[in-house]
Symmetry: C2
Subunit: 907 residues, 2 copies
């Protein structure tokens, strides 16, 4: 949009009116728009104006400010002068202004700000006469430092060094110890620094200062850190920033002045209590800098903090009352909790900023439910606002605030939310053994494999040195709802010698040491820390707390109820055991979208039968081994069907390469040889023969089922036997049999033939039937590309987006740690494609599969069971594709329910 | 097509006329159509008729013969009776008929035939009176055996056992030793076998015999071996077979009778000489059975074989003359070499079949060029006929016919055409060492890796126990033009102890033993065998033979000339060295489509610099190591540019995972540690750290270039420096720089920025430029799916169909041996997708990439450099997509030129 198309280039606010309000964020940036809104609400806002974003784009397109813009700015400054009765660049009562950036989407700290602009020696003198020399000189030195840094790019360090030198020379330990003379000395030396750095004298002409500051703010839109931030946060480069110029007010003119920040409700708990802090006789940047400890706003809180009498409420009751009135007005206007900044100058309150507050998951639930109850918003508005991911936080165990502030020993990727504390276990067996003895353990490994499942179950949390957010450890941990950190590169693990060294920390730990991990942040700490179980889980899953004892769980239940009413897409879960299924069901799962049968084979009593089957040299031998497994599988499925009564249970036939089931260390190989009456060499040779260069693309999935149809047949029999049995108990069963890794219609045809044959034989023998469907995963690009053909024999499709992403992008999840983080940092992928679906590439294949699959078979049911099924952005994308359901790990089910509701509401 | 839509259900032939001819193959099958054609040409064909293929489809659709069909058949038999003067099912001169299948596309031996039908005791007696009892009884027992087997499914073994018993009882060692009484005994016992097997008496009613035989032939279209054959040969299931019923003639009525087969020209050399053999007093099946040794047709050949006086020409000059007349007529009619079957009964010649002859590559060239010179066909007709793959055979070294008949010790996949003989070398180093001493060696490995390249170069041929047709060994061997067998599962190789055991053969070999491999057939033989180098290579590449000394090379040159005139698509080569490039150029390559730079790093003097670079811990260290490599690369490229003067040379930047360059055994690791002044532990740790779960999808291709931009920059500099240098020598250079493994436009953007920066700097420093283009491989599904975006910054695309196939199908080429052969056998993929492009899946992505890439950038150049570039079917597909060129290994260039011409001619 060229500037000439903009109806207005400059928008004024202040004096009880404004040209724009919060609806014009795109034009005025969040800051400018909200200042306009506050002015229109009659709230005390220092007057000012905002130069609209199109002028920023024009500046970058033309390399110069729009013609005539500064003439308009002069007129607008004149308006501020009128409203304040002050004069820009001159005494007796000089007007100083702030010049700030502000984009439509908040980019905190990414762009530049200049305060106290309009300052020069004459103005400083006038200001000294009015408010004291120390104040004037302090304002002057702050301005020179900020302008030099922001506008001329002089390193802040060079000013800081001067300040330190002067303090040292004058025996001052704090900035505030410097008197007016000392600060005057600083100002003089700052001017020298400026001249040395730029070769020019510091510009004392106020209009030159203003023009250059406006240019600098526009220019900062394209600085490298802003560009990076936009890329990481998927913010368009074509939005531009607005510039807001506003009369300065001062919180540091004396004890009747001050500055603070606050939330209209508690952003941590959501309680309806103003929450904030302030500093008397201070500027806003002092609060941020943390030099002095701020004081509470409310008297009650001051009491609780043993600071009775020092709250804003007690010391400045008039300002406090005004602030409470403003808070109420703002909440009523915005209909949501606000995060605001204020300053009071000589007992007059000014609002400098307001924005919708960030908050914890719990606070999101509590505030939105309260706002609905207060009649401020509708339930659907609440639903649309709550970040779906925040529900994961509500379900995770959490660290005490005090523990969270312990310095981390190392950091990794936050792979499974929640915190856990326990002693280090270096092997799955050790974890299991010690857990049985009642110890809390954290399993610490380079990475995990399916052989570690029992140890992961036994451990309180999992910590790995390698792997990404969708590594085995991460996926399984999330599925189990366990806190997990992966890819913690600083760990050097010697499992054999049970020794963990942490690079950089100079610490070596052993199995007797206790650590704490926070899977929500990726931080690993030394020692035991207090951990709190999620209240919602205590109510819904553990049933150790009654709903009435937990307002959070009540709010959770109500939000989920609204979400279920709003959404149209189903939410299932990925669960392999009755226990997992029960958790998921209590969290609202409407079926099982993926039951991985292979996990069932890793139990100690089964792995042997599995290995015997793999080593079998004849079909008869293989059948005998399978016959031993079959009754166990029947029991597995009966358990699942009972828990999921009335709901669909989708069971995937055997998927992983056989190599994963075989032992890899010599003693296990020897034991297997003994048990199967084979030579150690023969077993070792078989293990070796099954090793693959790229197992992900190897002999697995339906390729196994085609090679060993007796495995598929056994599994089909076990599913149907279990279904027939529990149906006799009166359980309503809906099994679905899902064939993995199909890339060619004939693979499905052939596997379906095997499955159907067994099913019909069992139905005939039983003299009754149960409803059953047969479908396939869509996880190979070719399957998506030939979906029409495949749909002819499929009752349903389920997108396996983990594998589909690996193959479509040519990226091995397990190996991507070497380059994918860098790729995301470089903006090659805006987000880890294993976390959120790559909509351009993988998404295109999904769209082809849905459209062409349903084109051939309109009644085709389509879902997703990859990890992405629990990612809100991906859930939204799946809704857009018209999927029937998403399926995710049990603890992500509430997230998916909310995300599905949001997608439906957006539609 | 329903039978009612067919203008005619039965087509007659014989008596100098016919209802149909060779243009009606779809309706009459090859056999019936050609019999019609021969009848129309006035050639002596026993009269008969053909029931058209739609009746077969109707039979399968309705489960019964079409209503009234047998009435029509009776009328048609009547017509044969008229023409022959014989009576069906009755004396005194009974008519016997053959009932044969015949599909539009030849399916040799796949379907069934019944001879001597119309036989029963009365007919046998009449026949005995006419031609002797022995003949009659022999015909009768043959009929019962064949009818019982084909129509009633009685195992042939059961009849053979009876025959053997009778022979034993009567002291007869051969069938021919049995007299009429003995054969009568056989007939009686055959009838008992029939009754025992079917529970019914043998049907003596001729019309019943005929009806059941027609049904059996129709039914045989759907027998399992026919279905499998069709799937393997991509023949549609909806063609159906025709049934041809024809009067029997007998070559076994006495010494004035006989039967034979012949080619109108030599199918081995292509010489214009009738080539064939015959047996006097014998039936056709006796020739096939090989009980008696057939004699030559021509007198000259009989002389050469020390069988003077026994040829057909000498013993039956009248028949021979007639046969030569027939051969000339058929060649003139069909315009190509014919393969025909004949019988002479009482000095009268009958033609029973003619079809276009199968022949060797050399014969294809020689016959087609001769036919053009004779004015029989146009060059474009010759081009369309020569199977493109047959040229690979012409270029390969070949075994002597005698050696080819040695029994193979083991069989593997025919991965690189040609034969080689030499002593076994178990390691690449040993192969190189012994080759330098002048020994001929065959490299025998479980599989090969890039570290084995020097040994593969040194060896005469390569034999591996593992891998498929596109394994490393296969690809590299074909590139080098070396004979190669892969996936020879019977080999058990203990390289450490230098021992090769061959399963099933009970043979153990060592480095002193000589073996011979025939990479054209996959057979491995013991001992040395004579090997002949291709004449064409001797002329074109080795220049050890003048063109005038080799008619084959002259024919080759002319066919290539015609092909180049006919084709529109370019043919380049994949070559990494000047030597390979020179070979390819002499075989007609028009540029290099893929130069893999990594092979350059495996030379002994470079691998160390490469390893030093990989171990580098700082950018400076890495740059120093690269600086050592750069001048070597400059030299490599100069050599290539000189050989390929005037042509485009596409150079791919570093592609394989770094792990491939590192040493894997302890002594090499120790040596590297010593040379780089690092601890062995540190080097081992680095080797371990670079190991990947799925290296194919790991840190490779442009992912390396993005991680270590200095590698890409070094390679770009080396390419441009070399180009500038040789341009000064007056060489016309056209380098193209190709970025591998791009899946996202930004990867190409970033790599292109690095490359362009170096290029421009060098051009500026040199004060001159060379033409250069920058493009990318399309080898990741996502690249194809986002081709429009990627095309914005690409001058060209080159399909890497090896990787694209791996990822699109989710199949690791290296691991596919465990299931892909079975997949092809089951018809899941009609052909190995690594041999011929999977047009449905991979092809769809290619189409998307071409259409959308050119949609965005119309001048985009598109080629293919995967192994498929040398596969005729894939070349045809690429032509259809509108590619600008295909690129293949040097020895496949002629194949690709011909295939490209054929594609253009078909268009």
């Amino acid at each position: 949009m060229a500037a000439s198309d903009v109806p207005q280039r400059i928008y004024h606010f202040g004096g009880g009116t404004a040209d724009g309000d919060h609806t014009l964020k795109a034009l005025l940036g969040g800051k400018g728009a909200n200042l306009g809104a506050m002015a229109r609400l009659g709230l005390p806002v220092p007057p000012g104006f905002t130069i609209a974003t199109p002028l920023c784009l024009q500046y970058h397109a033309e390399g110069a400010l729009a013609p005539g813009l500064m003439d308009d700015v002069r007129v607008s400054i004149g308006r501020i002068e009128e409203l304040t009765g002050k004069t820009f660049g001159a005494g007796p009562d000089p007007l100083l202004v702030s010049v700030r950036s502000g984009a439509a989407i908040s980019m905190p700290g990414m762009m530049d700000t200049v305060l106290n602009l309009g300052m020069n020696p004459a103005v400083s003198a006038a200001l000294g006469a009015l408010a004291g020399d120390r104040f004037a000189k302090d304002a002057e030195r702050r301005f020179i430092q900020m302008f030099g840094n922001v506008v001329d790019g002089i390193e802040g360090r060079r000013f800081e060094e001067v300040l330190e030198t002067v303090k040292h020379e004058r025996g001052a330990s704090e900035d505030t110890d410097l008197d007016a003379a000392g600060l005057d000395d600083v100002v003089t030396r700052y001017r020298t620094v400026y001249r040395a750095a730029t070769g020019r004298d510091f510009p004392d002409a106020p209009w030159e200062q203003l023009e250059r500051a406006v240019e600098a703010v526009f220019a900062s839109w394209e600085n490298p850190r802003a560009r990076t931030y936009r890329r990481l946060n998927r913010i368009g480069d074509d939005l531009g920033t607005a510039v807001t110029v506003q009369a300065m007010v001062f919180g540091n003119l004396g004890d009747d002045c001050g500055t603070g920040v606050g939330f209209t409700r508690d952003p941590s708990t959501g309680a309806k209590l103003f929450y904030g802090e302030y500093l008397a006789n201070a500027q806003g940047e002092d609060v941020v800098a943390g030099i002095r400890t701020p004081l509470p706003i409310r008297a009650a809180r001051a009491g609780a903090m043993k600071l009775a009498g020092r709250s804003l409420e007690e010391l400045h009751p008039h300002i406090h009352a005004e602030l409470m009135r403003v808070a109420a007005t703002l909440e009523a206007h915005y209909g949501d909790v606000q995060d605001l900044e204020f300053t009071f100058e000589r007992d007059t309150l000014y609002l400098l900023q307001t924005r919708t507050a960030k908050r914890t998951g719990q606070a999101w639930l509590m505030t939105q439910v309260a706002l609905v109850d207060e009649g401020v918003i509708e339930p659907n508005t609440a639903l649309a606002r709550i970040p779906a991911d925040s529900l994961a936080q509500v379900l995770a165990p959490s660290l005490d605030a005090s523990a969270a502030s312990s310095p981390p020993l190392a950091r990794g990727l936050n792979a499974g939310p929640g915190a856990a504390t326990g002693m280090i276990a270096f092997t799955a067996d050790d974890a299991e053994r010690r857990a049985q003895l009642g110890q809390a353990v954290i399993l610490v490994r380079d990475d995990t494999t399916p052989e570690d499942i029992h140890g992961m179950h036994a451990a309180r949390g999992i910590l790995t040195a390698r792997g990404g957010l969708t590594s085995h450890a991460a996926v399984v941990a999330r599925g189990m709802g366990k806190p997990c950190i992966v890819g913690c590169g600083a760990l050097h693990i010697n499992a054999h010698e049970e020794r963990l060294t942490i690079e950089g920390a100079g610490v070596t730990l052993g199995p007797g040491d206790t650590i704490t991990i926070d899977g929500s942040t990726g931080a690993m700490m030394l020692g035991e820390q207090a951990i709190a179980t999620s209240e919602v889980l205590q109510v819904l899953v553990d049933r150790t707390l009654a709903p009435r004892e937990s307002p959070t769980s009540q709010a959770f239940a109500r939000v989920m109820e609204w979400a279920d009413a709003a959404r149209t897409m189903g939410v299932r879960t990925n669960a392999d055991t009755p226990a997992d299924a029960a958790v998921a069901r209590s969290l609202g799962a409407e079926g099982i979208g993926l039951c991985r049968t292979e996990h069932m084979f890793f139990d100690a009593d089964r792995i042997f039968a599995m290995r015997r089957m793999i080593l079998a040299e004849t079909e008869d031998e293989r059948k005998a081994a399978l016959a031993a497994i079959e009754p166990m599988q029947v029991n597995d499925f009966k358990g699942l069907f009972r828990v999921m009564r009335g709901m669909t249970v989708t069971i995937r036939t055997l998927d992983p390469p056989l190599h994963e089931f075989l032992p890899h260390d010599e003693s296990d190989i020897a034991e297997l040889a003994r048990h199967t009456r084979r030579s150690v060499d023969a077993v070792r040779a078989r293990v070796h023969a099954l090793r693959e260069s790229n197992p992900m693309l190897g002999h697995r999935g339906c390729r196994l089922g085609l090679h060993f149809p007796e495995i598929t047949r056994m599994q089909a029999r076990a599913i149907i036997r279990a279904a027939l049995d529990v149906a006799l108990e009166g359980v309503d069963v809906h099994p679905e049999i899902m064939i993995p890794l199909v890339g060619n219609r004939r693979e499905l045809d052939l596997q379906k033939r095997e499955v159907s044959g067994e099913i019909e034989a069992l139905f005939k023998a039983a003299g009754r039937r149960v409803p059953v469907q047969i479908g396939t995963m869509i996880e190979i690009p070719r399957a998506a590309l030939t979906a029409a053909e495949i749909a002819e024999h499929a009752d349903f499709f389920s997108f396996g987006t983990n594998d589909l992403t690996q193959m479509t992008l040519g990226v091995s999840r397990d190996d991507s740690g070497a380059f994918l983080p860098d790729y995301v940092a470089k903006g090659i992928y805006k987000v880890d494609p294993f976390v959120s679906i790559d909509q351009t590439g993988v998404g295109r294949l999904m769209r082809i599969a849905v459209e062409e699959g349903r084109g051939r078979r309109p009644e085709l049911k389509v879902g997703i069971c990859g990890e992405h099924g629990g990612d809100p952005e991906s859930v939204r994308f799946c809704y857009g594709l018209g999927l029937d359901y998403v399926s995710c790990s049990p603890y992500r089910v509430p997230v998916a329910r909310l995300a599905a509701a949001q997608a439906a509401l957006e539609d």
